[in-house]
């Protein structure tokens, strides 16, 4: 492998990793703060992508469509939390897995009822549709650079909000000791609803960013969900920092694994990595103390 190809593949790995981080950020946020395993995260991801395509067609403005799609996905998440998931915070993880598994099936059929089974087109704005020359003869898709930038911004933003703001303090207080936080005058129920909505918005964002480079179709969230779970678990459930490191690690390992290993092994490499890491550190790379 030549040096420039190596650099390009490294960039591909990092970009794929950042995309994985976008996909798993909402999942690990909800998991870490509310102790809720939300398999329906993949469904919200799909919803974000479909809404974005619809709004692009309607408004012809990519940015506006992206914002609208995120807002509506957040709202759907908010309603979902209020109607169903709220009562599952205190239930076992197993019950959470089952109920959100049921939600995946329902969401898939709802999206199919609305948009049909034919994959829909995601039109990119002209400025991002092509590629630019990075160095030598390496052309890099402009949109992937945008994904890279958005992913890094989300990572920094989440870090800032959770660690350095008053809202973040309330969130952490609510997560570690609900009654105590309530006693301090924090409306924990509202905080949790908002965090869930924020998680949904992140899922929607990931969906619309990923949808622009892949196919937007019913069930697109299912394979992505597994990847997101792998990232979350390797990073340490609930750790934003862990998710970021794990996502980059998987992105790079997967990219080079696909290129260098025989295909059967290449598809296993992520799962082998996960088994090895969990055997070595049973609570992930950055365990969060409950």
């Amino acid at each position: 492998m030549s040096a420039s190809l190596f650099i390009e593949q490294m960039l591909n790995g990092i970009q794929f990793g950042v995309m994985l981080f976008l996909i798993s950020a909402g999942l690990t946020l909800v998991f870490g703060i509310m102790n809720l395993i939300n398999l329906a995260h993949g469904a919200l991801f799909m919803l974000g992508a479909f809404l974005a395509t619809a709004f692009i067609k309607w408004t012809n403005n990519y940015l506006l469509a992206a914002v609208l799609a995120m807002v509506i996905t957040a709202f759907v998440g908010y309603v979902l939390e209020l109607l169903v998931l709220r009562r599952f915070y205190s239930r076992s993880h197993l019950d959470q897995v089952l109920v959100t598994f049921g939600l995946i099936l329902v969401f898939n059929d709802i999206v199919r009822l609305i948009w049909g089974v034919v994959p829909v087109q995601f039109r990119l704005p002209q400025a991002f549709a092509g590629s630019i020359n990075l160095f030598g003869d390496v052309q890099y898709p402009t949109f992937r650079l945008l994904i890279l930038a958005v992913g890094l911004l989300v990572a920094l933003g989440l870090y800032y909000v959770v660690v350095h703001t008053r809202i973040g303090m309330w969130i952490r207080a609510g997560a570690s000791n609900r009654p105590m936080a309530s006693a301090l005058g924090v409306d924990v129920g509202l905080i949790f609803s908002l965090v869930f909505a924020a998680g949904a918005a992140l899922a929607g964002l990931a969906g619309l960013m990923t949808g622009s480079i892949s196919s937007v179709q019913v069930g697109m969230g299912d394979p992505v969900l597994i990847l997101a779970l792998v990232v979350t678990v390797i990073g340490g459930i609930g750790s934003i920092r862990g998710a970021f490191v794990a996502a980059l690690m998987i992105g790079i390992v997967d990219t080079f694994g696909r290129v260098l290993l025989p295909p059967a092994l290449g598809s296993m490499v992520i799962f082998m990595l996960m088994a090895v890491i969990l055997a070595w550190r049973p609570k992930g790379l950055f365990p969060v103390h409950a």
Binding site: R91, H93, V230, I237, L278, P282
Partner: protein
């Protein structure tokens, strides 16, 4: 079958007390071939054979899930290992080519025990690694092992890869042809009953008590002077071995195996069966298997959008029926981590 506990006036848990739903269920299942002949619908037997084999897996899974608190997402993988052992040996028998130095065989009296042993070994190795973790991490690491097994069989191009492997050799059990539809049905039913009895005994044995106690309060078990890891691992291996047995039966019944048998969706289906059936009873999982297999077979006849009602049913049962379906029949206590 009740999972008894010592009890003043009646320290001896009788066999039948509280077991009647299981007995009714088995009796009804035993009637299926008769009903099938009555309605002249041989498909009924096939459908319920599927119910029986999945029920064996669900009961075995529930031993670690309901009683051991271990949510395994790799039972589809273990099921597939058992199935492939039977299939691969049958293929070598048909082709006449030895597998390395071993001749192939279509004798289920050899291949099914072998399926059990190989699956138990896989369960032992993967369990030894997985049991280092707990909770959600355990769910995910077993899922990872399931995917590894899945891709392993996809990579086995010699045995059909993604296309799967047809069994063309005619299978027998030490000379007896048990693959005829009705015979095979009753064989499967007998295995299911035997497996239920086995787990009922296990659950109430000293070994089972430690396992159940560990699921409720592992820290206390350690303080009592017991290191739970060995017990969890043993339970995982036993559960895996029985799942391998079911896989072997599956291959014999279908005469076809493919990596799709190991898909993680199937693994989730098994968990759904165990939970919906009711985890605190050995026989609950049988109800779960009946309902899930029938729903999956019947709903698509009514609508293309059958996954929505299926999903809604799952959600409603989880929300409103915490003891699972078994809870409809006997008053029960919820289980789960505390």
């Amino acid at each position: 079958m009740p999972e008894t506990q010592p009890n003043a006036g009646n320290a001896t848990g009788t066999l039948l007390r509280g077991a009647w739903p299981a007995i009714v269920c088995i009796a009804l299942l035993a009637l299926v071939p008769t009903l099938s002949a009555m309605f002249d619908n041989p498909f009924l037997i096939r459908l319920f054979t599927r119910v029986l084999i999945f029920a064996i897996v669900a009961v075995a899974l529930n031993f670690v899930l309901g009683f051991g608190g271990l949510v395994s997402m790799m039972h589809a993988g273990l099921f597939g290992v058992g199935a492939y052992v039977v299939a691969i040996l049958a293929v070598h028998d048909f082709d006449g080519a030895p597998l390395w130095i071993f001749p192939g065989t279509s004798n289920l009296a050899i291949t099914i025990p072998l399926a059990i042993v190989v699956t138990a070994l896989v369960a032992l190795l993967s369990g030894a690694v997985s049991l280092r973790t707990s909770g959600a991490y355990f769910i995910m690491i077993t899922l990872a092992f399931n995917q590894m097994l899945y891709y392993f069989f996809v990579a086995l191009q010699k045995y059909g890869g993604e296309d799967g492997q047809q069994i063309l050799a005619s299978l027998s059990f030490a000379g007896f042809d048990i693959t005829k539809r009705v015979t095979f049905y009753y064989v499967s039913l007998a295995v299911l009953v035997a497996v239920m009895l086995l787990f009922w005994r296990l659950v109430n044995s000293r070994f089972g008590i430690i396992l159940r106690a560990t699921a409720q309060n592992e820290r206390r078990v350690v303080a009592l002077g017991v290191s739970p890891l060995r017990y969890k691992l043993a339970a995982f291996v036993i559960s895996g071995a029985i799942t391998g047995l079911a896989g072997g039966l599956w291959a014999a019944g279908q005469q076809f195996v493919s990596p799709a048998d190991l898909s993680w969706i199937r693994a989730a289906d098994f968990v759904v069966m165990a939970v919906l059936g009711g985890m605190t009873r050995v026989w609950g999982a049988v109800l779960g298997a009946v309902v899930i297999v029938l729903l999956e077979a019947l709903l698509p006849n009514y609508t293309q959008y059958w996954q929505m009602p299926f999903g809604l049913i799952v959600i409603l049962i989880v929300v409103y029926l915490q003891g699972g379906l078994a809870g409809l029949f006997v008053r029960d206590r919820p289980t789960g981590a505390h």
